[in-house]
Amino acid sequence: MLKNRSLIAPSDLTLEEIEELMRLSEKILQTPERYAAVCRGKLMASLFYEPSTRTKFSFDAAMLRLGGNTLGFSDPNTSSTAKGETIADSARTIGKYADLIVVRHPKEGTAKLMSRYAGIPVINAGDGGHHHPTQTLTDLLTIRHYKGSYSGLTVGVCGDLKFGRTIHSLVTCLARYENVRFLFISPEELTMPAFVKEELNAKGVSYTETTDLEGAISQLDVLYMSRVQRERFISEEEYLRLKDYFILTAEKMQLAKSDMIVMHPLPRINEIATDVDSDPRAAYFEQVRYGMFVRMALIMKLLGAEEPA
């Protein structure tokens, strides 16, 4: 049962609970209008101690489309933290008038701390470089929607694998399903960190590391792109030498399977050329829609909202 629970890390959810959320998300995305009043009278506090317009809009849109209301802030300077209130006290007070808290904060562990004191469900919308579980759920829904299931997929992740939290979460989550194979495509400076690989080794999950996107792309069912940032490189020359290898273009897409999908957490800079956007395999803008639907499903479940008859 997800009712009255908090979601702090992707690993808080069992595979059955993920499946429950995915099923409800699929139902909502087929007929969203049926769900327009299921959270009527409910109030969601969205507390963004660190600005992230994209994530805040997605959560607010989700709650409003369920017929609920939202309040909150997107700039910490307007909140009571400016007056020195502790996170624990903020959680206690907000828990007295809201039904659900969505929190983003630059410090790791903040959502967990709030969940201890709020007395109402808390959703972690990002705690520093730590967890961002609804991004992972968004990715899972996108893959499931296009591919039907996760088992047997070959998933390529490309770009900055060293610092990409989104990618670490997705990979460790997908590794819980049977027979998923990974290709890690990155410059040597930005390879997948040891803690992720150790987890895969322990589970007997197979993965290959390569620096060659063009050579790897034909094997993939899913290609998850991420940004390679200039500041990660020692020198400008190194960056310029390497960056094109990790940019997806229409030309490289010709080598890919006809049903491969391309994903990206957005915003992109230049790692996916705009000539890929019109390709039917480009799923990254659709991903944004799925992000809202999966948040609708999550809010419903945590609030224990009844499905419409």
């Binding site: 996170i87 630059p106 410090k107 790791e108 562990g109 967990k112 705690d127 470089g129 730590h130």
Partner: protein, 140 residues
């Protein structure tokens, strides 16, 4: 001369890794005890080369978690009427609360000054614990 070799009633914490005796002394709050407490440092040991040793003349209820955390190799003997009645060997505790602090500067516990943080044992071989809030690893 003070005779520290035998106690009648109390607890002997033996086989403490040399240098850890004072830490245990502090963590158990033995400085606040009214009873006789002896801390011996750098005692010759056949097995360990050098070791530390603590004798407490009191039936104190000592926190074994703290001991297991600082030095899982130490042994505890409970003494009654000059005889050892019970010997306990330690294991690192699965969880500890309120003893460790998180060293991750990005962790919320360092901004909010939370003192009752729960840590979970993640690697018994290296005695490493993970913070319940940020998962960063630490050891005492």
């Amino acid at each position: 001369m003070v005779n520290v070799s035998k106690i009648k009633e109390g607890i002997v914490i033996d086989h403490i890794r040399a240098g850890h005796g004072y830490k245990i002394f502090q963590q158990l709050g033995l400085d606040r005890l009214d009873d006789v407490v002896v801390l011996m440092r750098n005692v010759d040991s056949e097995k360990m080369g050098r070791k530390d040793l603590i004798k407490i003349e009191s039936n104190l209820d000592i926190n074994l978690d703290v001991l297991g955390l600082i030095d899982p190799g130490a042994t505890i003997s409970y003494i009654k009427d000059g005889e050892r009645v019970k010997k306990v060997s330690l294991t690192p505790p699965e969880t500890v609360t309120g003893i460790l602090t998180c060293r991750n500067p990005r962790c919320i516990t360092n901004q909010e000054h939370i003192t009752d943080i729960k840590f979970h044992l993640v690697d018994a071989a290296t005695n490493q614990y993970a913070c319940e809030y940020c998962d960063a690893r630490t050891r005492l």
